[in-house]
Amino acid sequence: MSSAVHRRMLKEYMAIQKNAATRPHLELLEPIQEDDLLHWQAILLGTADSAYEGGRFKLDIVIPTSYPIQSPTIRFVTKICHPNVHFKTGEICLDILKSEWTPAWTLESVCVAISSLLTNPEPSSPLNCDAANLLRCGDTAGYNSLVKMYTALYATGDSDEE
């Protein structure tokens, strides 16, 4: 492993532990195994008063050795109903993870951005057309009940759905 990315991930790890109290919607962000700093997991909490409330959403994060010059690859492991997340693969459509990635981001700030994507969907660039179409035709009630149903179905149990 490149020593630079290793050094960087250790620093991020320490900073994340120190900041834990300042980010209520990020329950967890850590390497899956202590000896592999290039493979992380995170758990996002659905915000209160949103259709995701009560849900715990697990993310899988793979760090390339060229990080932070190249972006991490992040996908939802927990099934989630969201216009910008692929329902089957968990792929996320978010500009900062693709064309607008810059090395000024950290894993923590990216996770916060994904968390805010949950309540600020972009139905114009959908990966889940059913969810996006409900929003595009203004059926917020329909959208919210669909999201609530999937959150209850997949994101509230004790075990992590793969």
């Binding site: 630079a4 960087r8 900073a15 932070p68 010059i69 607008e100 990635w101 090395p103 000024a104």
Partner: protein
């Protein structure tokens, strides 16, 4: 398409040994008369050039190398150039913090840049070139200079935002065009880096324009009086290399 571009780029070192300007003339042997005349005229005042890899980072890499090399070659005769450069790079940390960059996100690039600069007191020309040919060191320095240019633009929005495309914010422009590796630079980035580092640049524009026999030089000046002669870069559409001006009398260029 990107793969072809990458393969082409990887065939060349990030920064190459310098070559006689005759090599530039040879590139255009079968080219237009306009190019030949301009290179002929350019060689009256310039004798060598150094190629920077065409990977979208060529401006930042050429700028950093030309500056560090200049400082290193004058380490005994003009040690104040080194002291100035170290102080300038140290100040960039405050600039980045003022532009709201996270220390965690930039300190590794900053450290590598500062350490390379500090090492110039004992570096040979060969060692400097080796450092700039090393992916990790070279790209960290490029990244630091990208962030510095971005931070300067973000902290001087009133001056530069009017030049952006309609509806684009400075933050969007910076993340898409300045901070992202491999994005080519425009004049705005040259202006920003010049002003943020107090290092002046002259860019020789080599184009196929038939109307002139002379290469057009465009100066980029800091707000303070320059403390050393400008770095000279050669620009051909889409690409920057380093030029060596005869009157700068640099000894020890390899």
């Amino acid at each position: 398409m990107q793969a072809i571009k990458d393969e082409e780029a990887n065939a060349h070192p990030l920064v190459d040994h310098s070559v006689d300007l005759l090599e530039l003339a040879e590139e255009y042997e079968n080219g237009s008369e306009a190019f030949k005349k301009k290179i002929q005229n350019l060689s009256d005042t310039h004798d060598r050039m150094r190629r920077s890899r065409g990977d979208g980072n060529c401006f930042y890499r050429a700028f950093a190398f030309a500056w560090f090399e200049r400082v290193m070659l004058a380490i005994k005769s003009k040690p104040e150039l080194h002291a100035n450069a170290v102080r300038t790079i140290e100040e960039t940390k405050d600039l980045l913090l003022a532009a709201q960059f996270e220390l965690l996100a930039f300190e590794d690039f900053y450290q590598v840049t500062l350490e390379t600069l500090q090492n110039l007191v004992h570096f040979t020309s060969e060692e400097l070139l080796t450092a700039f040919q090393n992916d990790e060191i070279s790209n960290s320095i490029v990244m630091h200079f990208r962030l510095v240019a971005s931070a300067f633009l973000k902290t001087h929005q009133d001056d530069y935002a009017p030049f952006l495309e309609f509806g684009q914010t400075m933050d969007e422009f910076c993340s898409m065009h300045v901070e992202a590796m491999g994005r080519e630079s425009e004049e705005m980035m040259l202006i920003a880096l010049t002003k943020a580092t107090h290092v002046s640049i002259e860019v020789a524009y080599l184009s196929g324009n038939q109307a002139a026999d002379e290469v057009n030089f465009l100066p980029f000046l800091p707000d303070t009086a320059p403390y050393m002669p400008p770095l000279v870069l050669l620009y051909r559409p889409g690409h920057y290399d380093i030029l060596y001006r005869k009157s700068h009398c640099l000894e020890g260029v390899i």
